[in-house]
Amino acid sequence: MIYLDSAATTLQKPKAVARAMKTAVNTLASPGRGGHAASMRAARAAYECRELAARLFNVPDPANVVLTSSATHGLNIAINSLAHLASRGGAALISGYEHNSVMRPLKAAGIEALVARSELFEPEGLLRAFASALDRGRIAFAVLNHVSNVFGYIQPAERIAALCRAHGVPLIIDASQSAGSVPINMLSLGAEFIAMPGHKGLYGPQGTGLLLCRGPADGVFGIMQGGTGSDSASDAMPAFLPDALEAGTHNMPGIAGLSEGIKFVLSRGETRILEHARGLTDEAARGLAELPGVRVFGGSGKNRAGVLSFRLKHTECEAAAEELSRRGFAVRAGLHCAPEAHRTAGTFETGTVRLSVSAYNTARELRALVSAVSEMARKSPRNRNNRPGAKASPQKFYIVSRPNARGSSSESR
């Protein structure tokens, strides 16, 4: 199988990840829950993970690295921590590429989501829409999907963060697709929270995640309460990080594995990982765009990470993914838990087929995928360009200038 679904989870991990997990199962107890050797080893392992993440993301204090079970877990904490700011009619300002892990917690908290609309994959337009919404006031906090999980489009996080800082508006960054593959500097971004999974670009196991908190702890709201191994005489959660947000027993095998994944990223470097991924998706995008009846969606140049989407004109996206699966390719079709992103791109009705790469994929694998899609496109009975050697009609494979159907201004959902 050629695995091209790393935006869901990276399947190929550094060998050290599984080794560390296996060792952890047999040697690590609960951190902060005892003074015996197995508990202290666990405490050292948890702290090492915090330190590694603090190093990778430039977090000044490892205590502000909260160990979560997923990016979704972290985003729920972040949104619920800032929800009180929206209690007097304030709204959350979001980009048009957000995932359900943002949309659903906002809805559950009864917070209005104001979408900063702009032309597709066009950073200047997004900045203008953000600035305009922030200038009008009423924004309690903002949420930004750093890299679209559907299109691989890298949003201008540094500049959005600067806008939010200038307006005194707290910012949550969803780094689900960027952590480990796009450089992130917590200190210079000044974001209130940055949430990420451990099992994607950080190459850790499923069931792990990180929430970077600007701190201090008095502004955080844990979505679980329980034992922390500290302040045990009190029936309230500790008022300090990370304990305030880490009720219950830690996933020590996961955390030990995640540390090894982060070491892999640190050793290789996010920039190198991004260049590799971008090289693969660029080549795939070019190859796919030349095929008859294939339309490619994604950012371009420096705005593209290791994800892109495409559609075959006469083949339903789930059927295309199924056919690719039969041919040995793991891709994902549908709405990718991000209906807002598909609405933004105009692909809500059809969905797309998504391919996403990791540091372990090769150019040869992507060429094989393009070749398979080419064959599928040729065999499509309704494709008018299906004869061998037929040239596709000229197509721009990046949609960079198509105005969004709903205009370029911010709009409320």
Binding site: S230, S232, D243
Partner: protein, 90 residues
Amino acid sequence: MLDYLLICRSVTYAQRTAKALESAGISAVVTRAPRGLSPAGCSYCVRVSGRHIAAALAAVKNAGLPPARVFIQSENGGYSPYGSAGAPSL
């Protein structure tokens, strides 16, 4: 030589404290805090040798990691607050 216990509010805080001390060249060991020394409930402490206590307190102060409390462990196993009668003052 007497040992000193720097009481910390959590195991993470104790680890940060120990790292700050090690960075300053002071040997430090994280252990569970004796129950009677942590009225808020379970907590951890960093044990340092009395030889280094002044440098240790300066190092944690510089790192912005003040301990909740400091105790001296006597040779008979008892504890007394640092700075109390009979104990050296800061």
